[in-house]
């Protein structure tokens, strides 16, 4: 298997080089029949690369299932008793395997792109060459710097070291693929953008193609980021979902810039503006995805995640430098081609709102990048590292995010070119009154109603932010609802349909616009979930709980019914059985656990989470006291379920926006209709 995998990777590299080299020369000699044919062979070689990388990936997975511990990678990331889904996940659980996986996804995207070349053969040929260049880099890495099929030195071991316990969780089987589909996917818009720049592509068709790819990729990255957050919440046992670790930041940066691009691209499509900016945003998204990988795998920035120390950082640094140089060269060579076709007419217009929206997204990205790099900068300047953690990002990023939320409410209601003050007043009066009413209601309600009621912004700055966030969320929701209502009313007036049916028809007629609104609504729901963190509580029964002992948190009373141990081939476990009472009534029984994985000799917690829309009761089994009684830490995390619900809404909106519009009903003039009826049509 190791030999099959190694040869497959080598052949994939050779074919990628062919696809790149011959494809590039064929582009220089366009019109020459011989080179046209050779260009076609380059495209086909790119298609075949996918087959060889699939073969290499299969070889690695089969090696994991066959417990082939002669392969060092399998020895370090698997063991005999590892459950089958995690053996499959071995493919991306370590450095070398994840790079094979990255190559696989890139080859997969390239496969689809090259099969769809008839959409625009010339543009696709350029994009294919750019993709092949990126593919060469990743395949070189797995062939020469991080070989997944390297053999284990020394005597053959009977069993492997096992998979990191923290990765033995169902979501870890899908979180990395989603995240990587996002990271890798941004290569495709970049390939089209660079191709369009090099060939001075006329018109905006490349933008249409790129936008759909970017939306798909953005959807994957969103899904991957939140799966990671959910994994952190459900596995790490610290009661939170986002820790501003460099690895987390690395995934957020391309997401922020990609989101900016998805907004600003509309200006290019509708008004032929921001062409230079869009080009840079596409490049920055791709570049930041690679930079994030460089940050986390070079060992430059400390991270609690895997891969933090390795020797492939210099490879990434060179690749980043070369890709930047190539892009800058072609940008300055052909930038005259990127002139705006229209001018901006007013500060109060959709165009301005997009400009400010882009500014804030890019600024948020810069803040995250700055915070991630600052420890290193500080070390270089003053000789000692500092920590840049949650308190920094909360203070700097939250105000910017609130400004962004205001734009989310305002932007969609502004007209292209210019919006009159009257129109602004008409559109915003009721949503604004509604939002203020929500904020006042939250402030005057009694605190004993539970979170987020009884918000007193003067008591704590986090309450102030929560109140502002929820108020602005109300504003966004109301503006979206008013948009739906006004559009639905017009259709209902024309067709005589009911309001709901009219709104559905409205959405079908412009899926992109209304899908976008649904995404905005999903973001609102997520932010309400984030706002709940201001009310988090925790309590620890640090002396241990004997049978029947009680602890109280919020409105819950927890009674230790029992504690016990269990054992299976993969891990042994200790767990407590806790009855949960609310208002004196038994409502649930939960079992927080601590697991000890035998192969890796590492312990891990498995928190017990009881989720409701109002709050999560989150129990962690921290260990045992000297009498063998469990030490339990309880967290009460309000509104967390809203985050996961919001993500589903975001993904639903994204899928909706990708569906083509339903055709508008054709209005046949009455006179022509009479003629058609008379003619028997």
């Amino acid at each position: 298997m190791a030999q099959i995998g190694s040869y497959a990777l080598l052949l994939a590299l050779a074919l990628s080089i062919y696809s790149f080299g011959v494809g590039l020369v064929a582009l220089f000699f366009q019109g020459d029949p011989l080179w046209e044919r050779l260009g076609e062979t380059a495209r086909r070689a790119g298609v075949v690369v996918f087959g060889f990388v699939v073969l290499a990936a299969i070889a690695l997975v089969v090696s994991a299932f066959r417990d082939d511990f002669t392969i060092a990678y399998i020895f370090h990331h698997s063991n005999r008793d590892l459950p089958a889904p995690y053996k499959f996940a071995t493919l991306w659980s370590g450095q070398e395997g994840s790079l094979v996986f990255w190559s696989l996804l890139l080859a997969g995207y390239g496969f689809v792109l090259r099969l769809r070349y008839k959409t625009d053969p010339r543009l696709f040929a350029y994009a294919s060459v750019v993709l092949a260049a990126v593919q060469i880099f990743f395949l070189s890495l797995v062939n020469f710097a991080a070989n997944p099929f390297g053999l284990l030195e020394g005597p053959l071991r009977p069993d492997g070291s096992g998979l990191n316990p923290l990765l033995q969780y169902p979501e870890m089987v899908i979180h990395p693929p989603m995240l990587y589909l996002g990271y890798v996917g941004f290569t495709v818009p970049f390939a089209f953008a660079l191709g369009a720049l090099i060939m001075k592509y006329p018109g905006e068709k490349w933008i249409h193609i790129t936008r759909r790819w970017t939306m798909v990729t953005w959807g994957f990255l969103t899904c991957g980021i939140f799966l990671g957050a959910h994994w952190a919440y459900a596995v790490l046992g610290w009661g939170g979902y986002w820790g501003w670790d460099p690895v987390e930041n690395a995934s957020l940066m391309p997401w922020l810039v990609g989101t900016a691009f998805l907004h600003s691209v509309m200006m290019q499509e509708k008004r032929g503006m921001l062409k230079v900016w869009n080009m840079w945003l596409v490049f920055a998204t791709f570049w930041l995805a690679i930079l994030g990988t460089f940050l986390t795998r070079s060992g430059i920035i400390s991270s609690v995640h895997a891969f933090a120390q390795s020797s492939i950082g210099s490879w990434f640094a060179w690749f980043l430098a070369i890709s930047l140089a190539v892009f800058v060269f072609f940008f300055f060579k052909n930038k005259d081609h990127l002139r705006s076709e229209h001018k901006l007419e007013s500060l109060i217009s959709r165009e301005s709102s997009f400009l400010f929206n882009n500014l804030l997204f890019v600024l948020l990205c810069f803040t995250v990048l700055w915070g991630t790099w600052f420890p290193k900068i500080s070390e270089l300047v003053q000789g000692n590292k500092v920590t840049v953690g949650g308190p920094f990002y909360n203070r700097v990023a939250i105000p910017v995010a609130l400004l962004l939320l205001i734009l989310t409410a305002v932007g969609p209601l502004l007209a292209w070119r210019k919006t009159s003050f009257e129109s602004l007043k008409r559109n915003f009066m009721w949503p604004s009154i509604g939002a203020v009413a929500v904020m006042v209601f939250l402030m005057i309600t009694p605190t004993n109603w539970g979170s987020p009621f009884g918000l007193r912004p003067w008591q704590d700055v986090s309450y102030f932010y929560s109140l502002m966030a929820i108020g602005l969320c109300a504003l966004v929701t109301l503006t979206i609802a008013s948009e739906y209502y006004r559009g639905g009313k017009v259709i209902a007036g024309h067709t005589g349909q009911g309001m709901f049916a009219s709104m559905v028809q409205l959405t079908h007629r412009n899926t992109r616009r209304y899908g976008g609104y649904i995404v905005h609504f999903g973001v609102v729901v997520v932010i309400i979930g984030f706002a709940g963190s201001a009310f988090n509580q925790d309590k620890e029964a640090e002396k241990g709980l004997a049978y029947g002992d009680k602890m109280t948190i919020g409105s819950y009373e927890l009674v230790c019914r029992s504690y016990t141990q269990d054992d299976n081939p993969n891990y042994s476990s200790e767990w407590a059985i806790m009855d949960v009472y609310q208002n004196g009534k038994l409502i649930d029984t939960v079992t927080p656990q601590r697991l000890f994985y035998k192969a890796s000799q590492q312990a891990s917690t498995k928190p017990s989470i009881r989720s409701t829309f109002k709050e999560d009761l989150y129990l962690v089994y921290e260990g045992q006291n000297e009498k063998g009684q469990p030490i339990i830490k309880a967290h009460l995390n309000p509104l967390v379920m809203w985050i996961w619900l919001g993500v589903w809404i975001i993904l639903g909106g994204t899928v909706l926006a990708l569906i083509p519009n339903a055709p508008a009903p054709v209005r046949v003039p009455r006179a022509r209709l009479v003629e058609q009826v008379a003619a028997g049509d």
Binding site: S352, F356, L359, S378, V388, F392, S420, D460, V490
Partner: protein
């Protein structure tokens, strides 16, 4: 005699100042609140990269001791800055979860806001320069539509085309 708008303005100003005072002072001296606040501004030093009060990973060798030290310092009546100084002296500057507002660390806080101000300035300048671009020449006999007339056309177009 004070005019009504001035009176309203003065009342609003008083309310604002009162809110700021309450906002700044409420809960400032409560030891539990201080423990919670300071504990969330420090990191556990075991390498887990977590906030001190959020670190609860199994068998952490440091967080319990650090929490006890924090509680002891607050019980002694040490000021916030004294507690922070003592922790920095013992564990190094990485124990603080965010850069301080002193020396070079200050740049960590300033740069994002400078970037925000710069960004806003650039966007406004771009919008102004775009607005001032010359409009294309209009054929003889036609006059450009501006002002109220333009607004009327715009409203009419919106009515005709809006779904």
């Amino acid at each position: 005699m004070m005019t009504r708008p001035k009176q309203i303005f003065r009342h609003l100003l008083y309310c604002g100042l009162l809110c700021l005072a309450v906002f700044g002072l409420t809960g400032a001296g409560d030891p539990a609140t201080r423990f919670n606040e300071i504990g969330h501004q420090m990191m556990c030093i075991c390498g887990c990269n977590q906030i001190l009060l959020e670190c609860n990973h199994v068998g952490c060798p440091d967080s319990d001791g650090m929490r006890n030290e924090l509680m002891a310092a607050l019980s002694r009546g040490d000021s916030d800055s004294l507690v922070e100084q003592a922790f920095v002296q013992k564990y190094g500057p990485t124990v603080l979860a965010a850069p301080t507002a002193k020396g070079f660390d200050r740049t960590a806080w300033i740069v994002p806001f400078v970037a925000l101000a710069l960004g806003f300035t650039i966007v406004i300048m771009v919008i102004r320069s775009w607005k001032n671009r010359p409009t294309p020449a209009i054929a003889d006999g036609l006059r450009p539509v501006r002002g109220v007339e333009l607004e009327q056309f715009r409203d009419q177009a919106q009515k005709d085309t809006d779904l």
